[in-house]
């Protein structure tokens, strides 16, 4: 499912956070949204997911304007993982992951066989089967993050938008998470991820969108986007894109004066 936005503008508390962003995420690809703090990454993802109305411009899912989707239809094809890892009650990990099946369950219906299968698969994918019966509130930050990612995976949507899913994960779980995202993309899904780790983005993402001050200043493959000039313009750093053992790494040398 293709996600596309044109000249997108969005406002938060009377501040225009997105000032005309063009965006494209193709099925079968892992798309990264990067940029400095306050560049508008979260606002872009929330607007794409239909959680925040655009003040101008358009968003289309699979070629259809977002406004034409009912919230329930949208929830079946698009999963969204918020940056804040909120769990309000002492639900077990399995109960939290099961919430991802809500869009697929008719009102009043319990868990079906396919629901149970999706839940078990999501728990296994995020390596949290052992935690299934533990309350999420008692877990470490990284464990809770993985359970919440599993919740989004259990939704089995054609598109997944995840806001900083890797934050707070140890290196091993970061790698398995992105391998999982790559696998979802290889299955033909559309995966959009906001993140700060430019090396992870360069290594795993087919396409990188660099935001700065509410505008997209570059989009494309990692070597074309993460250039010395773009890193300087967006982050104000002297940075370098390099290959170590054949894998891309982005080094930040200095903060520019």
């Amino acid at each position: 499912m293709r996600i596309e936005a044109n000249a997108l503008k969005a406002t938060l508390k009377r501040r225009e956070v997105l000032q005309g962003v063009d965006f494209l995420a193709e099925p079968g690809e892992l798309t990264a949204v990067v940029g400095p703090n306050g560049a508008g990454k979260t606002t872009l993802l929330r607007t794409l997911a239909g959680l925040l109305p655009a003040t101008a411009g358009s968003v289309t899912l699979a070629g259809r304007p977002l406004g034409e989707w009912t919230s329930r239809m949208r929830a079946r094809v698009l999963a969204y993982l918020p940056q804040e890892r909120i769990v309000n009650w002492a639900l077990t990990a399995r109960a939290v992951v099961a919430l991802g099946r809500l869009p697929h369950q008719p009102i009043g219906a319990g868990e079906s066989v396919s629901d149970a299968r999706a839940i078990e698969a999501a728990l296994a994918a995020m390596d949290v089967c052992d935690l299934a019966s533990r309350p999420v509130l008692d877990m470490s930050g990284g464990e809770r993050a993985r359970v919440l990612i599993a919740r989004a995976l259990a939704q089995e949507a054609r598109a997944l938008i995840a806001d900083e899913p890797a934050a707070g994960l140890d290196p091993a779980h970061q790698l398995t998470l992105f391998a999982q995202f790559a696998r979802l993309a290889a299955e033909g899904r559309t995966v959009v991820v906001a993140l700060h780790d430019l090396s992870l983005a360069a290594r795993f993402c087919h396409r990188i969108v660099l935001l700065n001050a509410g505008r997209s200043i570059a989009a494309g493959a990692a070597p074309d986007v993460l250039t010395v000039e773009h890193l300087a313009a967006a982050y104000g750093i002297e940075g370098r894109y390099a290959l170590i053992d054949g894998l891309p790494v982005v080094l930040a040398h200095n903060v520019l004066p």
């Binding site: 329930r72 079946r76 918020p82 309000n88 939290v96 919430l99 009102i107």
Partner: protein, 329 residues
């Protein structure tokens, strides 16, 4: 699967046990009173006692306890706060103000239903005031603040009415009414309140799914296809109908909406949707038993049910505060 004492029952088992307990409490309530089972009374008198005194009282007890428990569970789930209950939305103070005004203006002397009708109008007025104050697209916090504002205004106006009461009998009637009671309620009052309470409870039972999704925050709930505007309306209107009608008939009965959901939450695996029917059944059972206990105490002490629930509820609240403090340390 069970760990940390979080769930020992399957959902249907829990609901079956609570349902059986509520039915038992209903029968106990029917059998309790100064005339006992009415074995000694003549046939006609016995029928009269059951139909005119005990039946309305038991039906009201079940409906009102259920409405209070259910609305407490809904509001705790919606506001994601274990300390929430219906009185926070200003609905019950609005109903109380309406009823007190009906006494002050002498309307309750003119016809018997003036008191509950005044209460209903007060509850609806409070509901519209909360909606107007919070705005149509309000989040949970804005709604809570609007509820507190309406509640404090209504409480201030109740004090004003009490202050200005023209004769001591009227003020005694008001004060007693404010304490809450199921005694001496007639079948017409049941017919007035029951449809509204049932409609309100039906609306509240439908938000369970939304409350489950809200566990993960408003953005996640929206992305799961939940219509939050619809949910907010259902919470406000459902609470106003069920608790408004309940308060209009019986006066203020506190703490059931706070205690019942809180006590049951661990038994439901902390799932907000399962907590709704569980709190409804347990609230009904608890209020019926409390009311039956009052009638057993009657030869020695004349106690109002609102006073009893407050006496039982306040220590529970203190225990809650202490436990929360321990968890924060």
């Amino acid at each position: 699967m069970t760990m940390g004492g979080s769930r020992h029952f399957a959902p249907w088992q829990l609901l079956a046990v609570l349902g059986a307990a509520a039915v038992a409490a209903f029968l106990i309530s029917l059998a309790t009173g100064p005339a006992g089972l009415g074995i000694n009374a003549a046939g006609e008198a016995r029928l009269l006692i059951f139909r005119e005194i005990r039946l309305p009282r038991a039906i009201l007890g079940a409906l009102i306890g259920g409405a209070l428990g259910l609305s407490g569970a809904v509001l705790q789930g919606y506001l994601r706060n274990p300390l929430a209950e219906a009185s926070l939305l200003g609905i019950s103070s609005g109903a109380a103000l309406g009823a007190v005004l009906a006494i002050q203006l002498g309307l309750s002397q003119l016809f018997a239903l003036a008191l509950p009708i005044g209460g209903l109008i007060g509850a609806l007025a409070a509901m519209f005031a909360v909606i107007a104050l919070a705005g149509l697209r309000a989040g949970a916090i804005a709604m809570l603040l609007a509820g507190l504002a309406v509640s404090s205004i209504a409480t201030a106006l109740i004090s004003l009415v009490l202050n200005l009461a023209h004769n001591p009998f009227a003020s005694v009637e008001m004060v007693f009414w404010l304490m809450g009671s199921l005694a001496d309620r007639s079948l017409p009052q049941v017919w007035l309140a029951a449809p509204l309470m049932l409609a309100g409870m039906a609306i509240l039972l439908l938000v369970g799914r939304a409350l489950d999704a809200l566990t993960l925050g408003e953005d996640a709930a929206l992305s799961l296809g939940i219509d939050l505007a619809h949910t907010r309306w259902a919470v406000i209107v459902g609470t106003a109908l069920s608790v408004g009608a309940a308060t209009a008939v019986t006066g203020v009965i506190g703490f059931i909406g706070l205690i019942i959901p809180h006590a049951l939450r661990p038994l439901t695996g902390h799932r907000p949707s399962l907590l709704l029917p569980a709190s409804l059944l347990a609230g009904a059972g608890m209020l019926l038993l409390a009311d039956a206990a009052l009638r057993l105490m009657q030869p020695w002490v004349e106690l109002r049910i609102g006073v009893l629930t407050a006496l039982l509820g306040a220590p529970f609240f203190i225990w809650l505060v202490l436990r929360t403090r321990r968890e924060l340390l």
